[in-house]
Symmetry: D2
Subunit: 207 residues, 4 copies
């Protein structure tokens, strides 16, 4: 139905998260209607983001180095952050959501997306070794931190729970205080519709 070049771009957009071929097709028609200048601006922005972003040498968050030699992201190099608390999150989007609400004054480590099952071999894609290195010798990575608490801020999904258990075991020997996020009823939630685990944790964590 579509020419090769359109189909190729539809295929590439179809790999974007949450995008199917129908929406990908609408993207292509949207692009075709832009001016040459606007399309070049988009293509350049895509290349620049890729070229100018670099994973932080400590936390792996993508950042845009302000100076050529800088190795640390704006959070890791911000001296006003509390360098005794390390928040371990699954992915950049979780970090952004946390930062927007400011419940965490410490710094972060991005572990990688957790698997959707409990199998231990699935934990291999997580940056557990890198996390341990950073907790043990933060300074070697350019951060003058001495962690007193490691918050395992993983999501209470199946994979996040499995990874939390796995990390608790893996980090035990470091002798740090290891915490998990509070579990219970979310804002606006109702007991009548809550699942078993949430009801159990709401009662267990009452205070």
């Amino acid at each position: 139905m579509y020419s090769n070049k359109i189909q190729k771009l539809i295929d590439l957009f179809s790999r974007f998260p949450g995008i199917g071929p129908k929406v990908a097709g609408r993207f292509v028609f949207y692009l075709a209607k832009l001016t040459d200048k606007e399309v070049k601006e988009l293509a350049n922005a895509i290349l620049e983001v890729k070229n100018s972003l670099r994973p932080c040498g400590f936390c792996f968050k993508l950042f845009e180095p302000s100076e050529a030699q800088s190795n640390l992201c704006e959070i890791c190099s911000d001296n006003s952050r509390d360098r005794t608390i390390l928040g371990v999150v699954e992915k950049e989007a979780d970090l952004v959501s946390i930062e927007k609400n400011k419940p965490h004054k410490g710094i972060y480590f991005i572990l990688g997306e957790t698997p959707s099952s409990f199998k231990q071999e699935n934990m291999k894609s997580l940056k557990v070794k890198e996390l341990k290195q950073r907790i043990e010798k933060a300074k070697a990575f350019g951060v003058a931190a001495d962690f007193k608490e490691i918050i395992l801020a993983l999501n209470p999904t199946i994979g996040g729970e499995a990874a939390t258990l796995y990390l608790e075991r893996e980090l035990k020997d470091l002798n740090k205080k290891i915490t998990r996020l509070g579990r219970g009823l979310p804002s606006g939630g109702e007991l009548e519709y809550a699942d078993r685990e949430t009801i159990l944790s709401a009662f267990k964590n009452r205070k």
Copy 2:
């Protein structure tokens, strides 16, 4: 369009929770297709539930007295329950949801549905006076209880939060331990999509 009798029944069904006139109409046609026996069974079941149910003299849960003189529901009269903990819930459906998951070994008190706003005058429909009486003199209501903890198991909705604050103030003089349900990420929740209150409580209640 419909005859008076059909319209009347459609109107009555339209008052059922969550039912609009279209679904109410389907109910009527459903009934019209039942046998006489089935329709009588339904009408009787409706009358019987109303006639045979009575609010528990202590907790206000509806129950079906096994003997004519009994005044307490099956939970309040169950000697194996922990009579040192009182769970205050908004409505019967919350109690049922909790009981199904068994996180609570104590007994209950049904406060009434909380208002959808913070206004104090809206608190008048709640059975606060009755709650106080039961905490102070449980025995006068037939329950040999001596409460050490009052769990305010209200929902973290706007009304539930307002009622929780209100109850904390109202119950302060009773000198009981007053707790709230744990707040935080629900099972399966994700930081990326969580609202501000939930993220704040997840970090605050970490452990």
Copy 3:
């Protein structure tokens, strides 16, 4: 969790169209909060609808006879209706929806809900024999009609289509004009999202 009487009523409500046990439970609590008078009103309305409704002797629509001896519904006995056109519908709710919009001046026949598959044995539950009798000898059923057109106003679902084909074959020998409802794009529909059958009929039925 619930007493026998509550559970019994929950079971009965769970048989209502589209109602699951959770909503059925809410119905019961709703009833328990009504006054005695209101509950009796509901039970009576249910019994009365059943007792006072009768299927029309011609079209099978449920109606409330105004006089004890009347056998025909208000549509079949309305002399201003066009008795040369018979609209065959699946169910009362379709008839109500048509009447509300007044595209049809003729009278009706309610065939019964069509099966969800094409199998011919599933057609047995439809009132095909009764339909034929009424087309051939309307007067014997109390309606002074001489049909020139039979509109098969069945829904374009799998079962409705199968029943339409079946009826066309069954009614052929009666030598009446037999029509189907127009097929095509519905109001507000879009070609981009329409299914194959709808696009084909929209082009085929262009005019």
Copy 4:
């Protein structure tokens, strides 16, 4: 929260049809995880689609010219199409949906997206003048067509209906047969849930 370059790309993606800033953010993180080669492939595909696509000289469909001098899309230059029928559609996505189902053997004209209201001044963005020119002198645009029927295959939305009325008036003097798509119940639709316009057209267009 995000660096300038990330925010810029988020803004550009947020202009894509149906994409908000949250999904746009996920797109950026998705891109950042691709290899350099993959990102370049995407940027090039975007530029190429824009550079290599050209609107067809007759129907305005975007196409990829196979030879530098070609001016007509693959449909307009396909000699097996019926050049006596012209299908006027709103947008490329409608054309693609029609072509997939093959109800139309003629050629097309893309009119432009119809306004969401009935106001006549909103019709100015439609290519009505261009349509007239092509109907009158198709050969001047490189297509050896002699149209006997103009199918106004616009969507039965408010804007599509308004544009159809407007076109019927504008094209009247050309003395061509002008048709509209069939209106009625879509495949799978039910009378019970259909809107007024659809029920009226289903009865009116019965046959």
